[in-house]
Structure formats: structure tokens, C-alpha cells
Amino acid sequence: MDLFLQQLLTGLANGAIYACLALAVVMIYQAIDHFNFAQGEMAMFSTYICWAMIAGGVPYWIAFFATIVVSFIGGLAIERIIFKPLHNAPVLSHIVVFIGLVAIFNSFAGAIWDHNIKTFPSPFPEGSFGGLIGLHEVGMFFVTLLLLFAIFCFFRFTRVGMAMQAAAANPDSAGLVGIRVGWMLALGWGLAAAIGAVAGMMIAPIVFLEPNMMLGILLYGFAAAIVGGISSPGGAVAGGFLVGIIENMAGTYIPAIGSELKLTVALILIVTVLLFKPNGLFGKTIVTRV
């Protein structure tokens, strides 16, 4: 039973990581209707920016919020500079650009800050909660929930949040009610980059900072977003925790999986959910009249 509780909490802790990144994935999906494969590398790059500031003597929280602002502007700039000219290009061109961005961020991070693994500070006190789960993980859990709440309020109650959804769902009609669709896309990129930055800064104390830190995690983040329902931020968070727990339980209780095949569990989850519940467990089913 102790082992079970231990694994459950570890699963939740890992889940918080995935949930955080899944939120960023969902955010950009709301805006552009695609997965952004470069999301992980963008988050990694943001984390490096924060690390550089802290190494330069800037206090943690100032660096934290400055990084969010810089990432927001960076995301905005990526859309305006790279994706705006590709506006009418087919989906495949976008995917190629995503992959290009992955390579660019990855190699620039390596070139600027080298490939050595770096420790990244946690804003939360050291120690653990009842010897079962680290305080950083607990803190991260709450940061994720806070982020979720903020996103929910943004989309539900703000004018701009509604406009962003409208622009994603029906760009023509959005233009006809006076929404500047291009800027909504840019805003989506900016917000996704900012959320990704938070995720990166929360994840880095656990996995350590290096250019490839997000490689595996992004896959879990995608799994979380798909399991939870790509259209729903709440679903993505729930999906994140679910993926974290399932992955840990499977690794512990199914000997054939062990710790080596854990990533496979995430992939199996993606395929299973897409097969049987394409909108995800918590995704909104789109009601259509027949």
C-alpha cells in the first residue's frame, strides 16, 4: 500500500510537469488549430533566458516574470515574422517550419549556453511533504492549477479571450465582426510561449537544464493534451495528471514495462484515445445537426 501511495504521488508530481506543458500546447492549438512541435524547445529556450538572468545576479522572481514577458514578446514575434507570410501556405509547410524552429532553438541554446547540464533553482523551499513528494512538486502542482484558472478566466470572461476563440474557429466571420484575426494568432503564440516559459521554469529544477530537456517531456505533454481533450485547458491538466499516474503505475506494476518502456505508455495512450475518443476524455464534443 505504501508503494502504491508513493507511486501515486510520484505520478502526480510527474503529471504536474506534463500538465504544465500540455496547457501551453492547448493554448496554441486554440489559436492556430495545430500542434506546435517547437513548443518544448521554445520553453527550454525561455528557461535558459531565466537561468542567464539569475546567473547574472537578478533575483528569482524578477527573472521569472521578466522571462514570461520576454517569451510573450518572442512568441508574438515568431508569428508576425515567420508565420504571417506563410498565412495561406498548406499545413505541411507549417509543420516544416515547426521542425525548423525545433532545430534552431535547440542549436542556439547549445551554442550560447553550451550543452552541459545545469541546475536550475526552485522558488519553493527544499524538503518534502511527508517524505513522499518534494515541496517543489507540491508547489508546481499549485502553479499548474493557478495557470489553468487564469486561462479559464481569460477565455471565458475576457473580450479578447472570446475573440481569440472566434478567430480560431471561424476566421472569416471573426473578421466580419471586427476582430483583427492576424493579431489574434500572434497573441495566441505570445500566450503559448509565456505559458511554456512557466512550464519550463517549473520543470527545469526537476529534470535539470540542458538543450534536450524537453524532448521526452513534450511527448508526454502531447499525450496529456490528447488524452484530456485538445480543446479544453481543464482536460489537458487532468490528462497530464492521468498520464503521469498511468505511466508510473504501469512502470511499477507491469514488469514487462519497467522504467525503460515508460515512454511507450504515453504513445500507447495517444493512439488508444485517438482511436476510441478522438475528442479526448474531457474535450467538448462538437454538436452538429444532421
Binding site: 472566434a166 472569416d172 473578421g175 466580419l176 465582426v177 476582430i179 483583427r180 467538448k284
Partner: protein, 237 residues
């Protein structure tokens, strides 16, 4: 008196295909004008050209302000509300959220709340459906929502693209009566595109007949109704 909208030499194309070959027309303040024509004549494209949704050439002046260089969102903000072909509601959002988005470019909260009620006054059924996903509305309700959303802009000019399309005759009659009321009570000018010529000429005071991207006949609705060609080809008697 100067015109509300003055269009000169309007050309529009989709890629290499030119669809409009230099249209000249104008709309009067407070009037209802209709563009008649067969499938593919360029009726929808004319509206899309005014709203900046297709590549276009020529001049489009709204009370002297040139619109031809503006983007769709900015044209809307000048007071032109376009009810697109196929309604274009935001299907995943509630009916009321659709209406509120119609007022996106306005910032007068009290006025917006007032206008939501005003739209419910014209279309009581929408009030019952206010929290329902727009995608679940019937065709008639969706068309009413689309018109309501356009009204939320407090437009000077309403562009209507085949509002009768796919609706039962009774619903069409109801809808056109409300459009007539809106025109009379609020002085909103309208540019109406319709396949159903007799219906359109009932509401409109002026009409243009479009054939393969050119205006071939124009005049008051009465004179158009008496025109032999129109009667035979478009009214069928």
C-alpha cells in the same frame, strides 16, 4: 444628397479568374438595394469585395471614405455589417456570446447590453436559445442569429447574402418582415443579394441585375418588376 456607398469600377478575382468586370453602383441612405442574378453571376463576390474578403480593384467609398485599401476588420469598424453566405455563426459558442462578439469593436457596455435586448425584441426565439450552442440552432434560428449579430455593430449598412437560403417559406416571410421593420425603424441601409427575385424586389426599393460579372439592368424595384427580361428570366411569368 450624397450617397451612402459609392462603388466605381469594382473588379474582383479569385486567383487568376476575374469574377467582377468593373461594377458601378451606389446605395442611398436608408434604402434597401438588391442585387439579382443567376448562380455564378458574382452576387456574393460583390458583397465579399465590399468587405475586403477577396482581391479587388476600383473605388468603394462609404460617405466619402475610401474602403478599397482596408482590411475586413477595419471595414467592419466603419459600420458595414456583413451577414455572410451560410450564416457564419460561431457554432461552438452560445447564441448570446455570438451576439456579444458582434459588438466586439464597441466599448460601450451599457449600449451593448441594451442592443442584446433589442435583438431579442426582434427575434424572441433567440432569447429562449440564448445559452444554446449556435451549432444546434435550426436554419431559421441560425439566420436570425447571424442578422442579430450583424445588428450588434449598430451598422450603417447591412450586407445580406441570401438570407432566405435553405429556409422554409414561412420562416423566410417572417425574416423578411423583420428586415423590413429594422430598415424602417432604425434607418439601417441594406444591400441584399438574393436568388429569390420576387422576394427581394418586395423588400428593396432599388435593384441591379448582374450577369457574369457585369451590371446589365438597374433601376427602381417597380421598373425592374416591369422589365420583360427580368420577368421572364428571374420571376418566371
Amino acid at each position: 444628397m450624397s450617397q451612402l456607398l459609392d462603388v466605381k469600377g469594382l473588379e474582383a478575382s479569385y486567383g487568376p479568374t476575374k469574377v467582377l468586370h468593373g461594377l458601378d453602383f451606389s446605395l442611398e441612405h436608408g434604402g434597401v438595394t438588391t442585387i439579382l442574378g443567376a448562380n455564378g453571376a458574382g452576387k456574393t463576390t460583390t458583397l465579399r469585395a465590399i468587405s475586403g474578403m477577396v482581391t479587388r480593384k476600383g473605388t468603394i467609398q462609404l460617405e466619402g471614405t475610401e474602403l478599397a485599401a482596408l482590411q475586413t476588420a477595419d471595414i467592419t469598424r466603419k459600420g458595414i455589417a456583413h451577414v455572410p453566405e451560410g450564416r457564419g455563426t460561431f457554432v461552438r459558442m452560445s447564441a448570446e456570446d455570438n451576439l456579444r462578439l458582434g459588438a466586439y469593436s464597441r466599448s460601450d457596455k451599457a449600449g451593448i447590453a441594451e442592443d442584446v435586448e433589442r435583438v431579442y425584441g426582434y427575434f424572441p426565439i433567440l432569447k429562449q436559445r440564448r445559452n444554446q450552442q449556435a451549432g444546434t440552432l435550426s436554419g431559421g434560428e441560425a439566420q436570425m442569429l447571424a442578422v442579430g449579430r450583424a445588428l450588434m455593430l449598430r451598422p450603417r449598412l447591412l450586407l445580406l447574402d441570401e438570407p432566405s437560403f435553405g429556409l422554409a417559406p414561412l420562416i423566410v416571410q417572417e425574416l423578411f418582415e423583420i428586415l423590413k421593420r429594422i430598415n424602417a425603424e432604425e434607418g439601417v441601409s441594406m444591400l441584399l443579394v438574393e436568388q429569390n427575385a420576387s422576394l427581394a424586389l418586395e423588400l428593396a426599393d432599388h435593384a441591379y441585375l448582374l450577369e457574369t460579372g457585369n451590371i446589365v439592368i438597374s433601376g427602381t424595384s417597380e421598373s425592374i418588376l416591369e422589365n420583360e427580361t427580368v420577368r421572364r428570366s428571374y420571376l418566371g411569368y
